[in-house]
């Protein structure tokens, strides 16, 4: 046998259940002792609460309080309708939280791959230049960085290089064999390397603009 739940019985006791549902519940309660007992208990409670509500604290104007509450509820409903109108539009992007995080991770990973690839493939002089520029930006010009010369010759055991106007020409000697590096103030840098296999000595020299 299906008994009406306590909620319906409570609403019936307070006179708040709809007409057709009240008719159905009353029909059931009429032939069911258990539900009759429960309904009586709800009615007693309702009477007690109603009686207690009549004794409001001194100074409380129930009518005014009721109007304010009603007004607040109407404002809340109106605001909800406004917001509800907007929630329909971005439905296409209304992805689950899980998918949103996946998308963010994929974008971050792609950015990282691009940055690492770009950095690894960037030649050392350009990387130095970029680092210097970023350092200047980070320093916000609090101290004057030395002006980079337009033209420069570099010579070390790792090789020789001439840099000018954003371009460079360089030579890196083989790792094996004896390497002799020299610089001429006339404007050149040279590397002398002897080939381990053939024994042939080759002098490679780069020159600046002069």
């Amino acid at each position: 046998m299906n008994h009406p739940n306590n909620g319906k019985l409570a609403l019936l006791a307070g006179g708040d259940l709809g007409f057709w549902q009240a008719l159905s519940v009353r029909w059931h309660v009429h032939g069911c002792e258990r539900c009759q007992s429960d309904l009586l208990a709800f009615r007693r409670t309702h009477r007690l609460v109603t009686g207690a509500a009549k004794d409001l604290p001194p100074g409380v104007d129930w009518n005014r309080l009721s109007e304010e509450m009603t007004g607040n509820i109407r404002v809340g409903l109106a605001a909800g309708e406004c917001v509800g109108g907007f929630s329909e539009r971005p439905r296409l992007f209304h992805l689950s939280r899980h998918l949103r995080w996946n998308g963010a991770m994929a974008a971050a990973l792609l950015t990282a791959v691009f940055v690492v690839g770009f950095w690894l493939n960037l030649p050392a002089p350009q990387a130095d230049h970029l680092l210097t520029s970023l350092g200047r930006i980070a320093g916000r010009g609090t101290h004057a960085a030395p002006s980079e010369p337009r033209e420069m010759l570099l010579a070390s055991q790792q090789g020789i290089e001439v840099k000018a106007n954003g371009t460079s020409l360089s030579y890196v000697p083989p790792e094996s064999g004896n390497v002799v590096v020299s610089v001429s103030t006339r404007g050149s840098a040279a590397v002398r390397a002897t080939d381990d296999d053939t024994g042939q000595t080759t002098i490679t020299e780069v020159y600046d603009a002069r």
């Binding site: 420069m152 001439v162 404007g187 000595t201 080759t202 780069v206």
Partner: protein, 367 residues
Amino acid sequence: MRASFLALAAFALSIVTATAGVLPRVDLPRDSPVALLSSDPSGSGESIRGGTSVVDVRVALILRNSGQQRIRGITLVVLAQDVAPGGKASVTVPSLSVAPGETFPVHVDLRLLRPVQPGDAVVEIGLDGVLFDNLSFYGPNRLDSRKALTVYELEARRDRQYLRGVLEAGGPARLQQEMLAAMSRQADAPGIEVQMVRGRPTNVDPERQVKFAFLEFPDAPVDSPGGVAQVRGNEAVTPRIPVYNRSGREIRSVEIGWILHDQQGRNFLAGSVPAAVQLAPGEKRDVSQDSVLRFSSRAGQPMTITGMTGFVSNVEFADGHVWIPSRAELDTPNFAKALASSPEQDRLLQIYRRKGLKALVEELKKS
């Protein structure tokens, strides 16, 4: 989603790196004493890295002596038009002994960086000069390769003669000692990093003037009381060295070798100060270059310059003859380690290392 991610990553990488072909052009004069037998540019290529184009010029050339004289040295010039206004390099092979009709290899291995721009990199390889065994020269000599090749050849003759003398005086055992000592000097040679820039120095240390001591070579055609350079920390600015022509011949150019001393008492060959100076007999002039040289140790730490020594590295007379210091003059105890060995000595050392003492003795017996 995984597939689209991989596609995006591949697209990103294709932006970072792309390659294309670069074929350097070899252009030798019609009457050149060397002929191009083959040119293998298979190692050359261009790749795009970020906003920069990296052009590798790797060419293996096989040249043939098409002249009538034995070739002792050759200088090729490599012109990369994109490095304005410089863009110039050279590849010199000294210590050759190529008879007429024989072939020899020359390897060009350079890297050019330039901003990404439309069109292929234009790289041309040409001839600057060829030196023959009678010290005659062929070529446009735009890089002053005549003097350089002559100096290398004279150094080769000097060193071969010296080692032959050692062999004759002390036999193979003494020659071996000499080779071991040379190898030890090579291994102990301190390395430095040098930056040379034009314009004003950037170091803010107080400037001080450091005097050049000058090594006295009795046979040198020029002499100097010593020069000066402005020193700021690890920078040496505009070395100025007065030279005096004490020979009876007109001089066309002088090159001064430059040895630095640091706080640890080490000596470094810093470079050379060449100058085209017309010096009549008895005339005195300053050899000077407006340059700023910045020195660092091999580890990249700035060096503190405490002193400098100069020596006459070579002198070219107006008639084209060249003077170089003798072995005895260069065997100065304090500076022998700092001075670089000649290309020929390096070649002979390589023969000793790879093939042994017997092969070296056989090599020295050749003309």
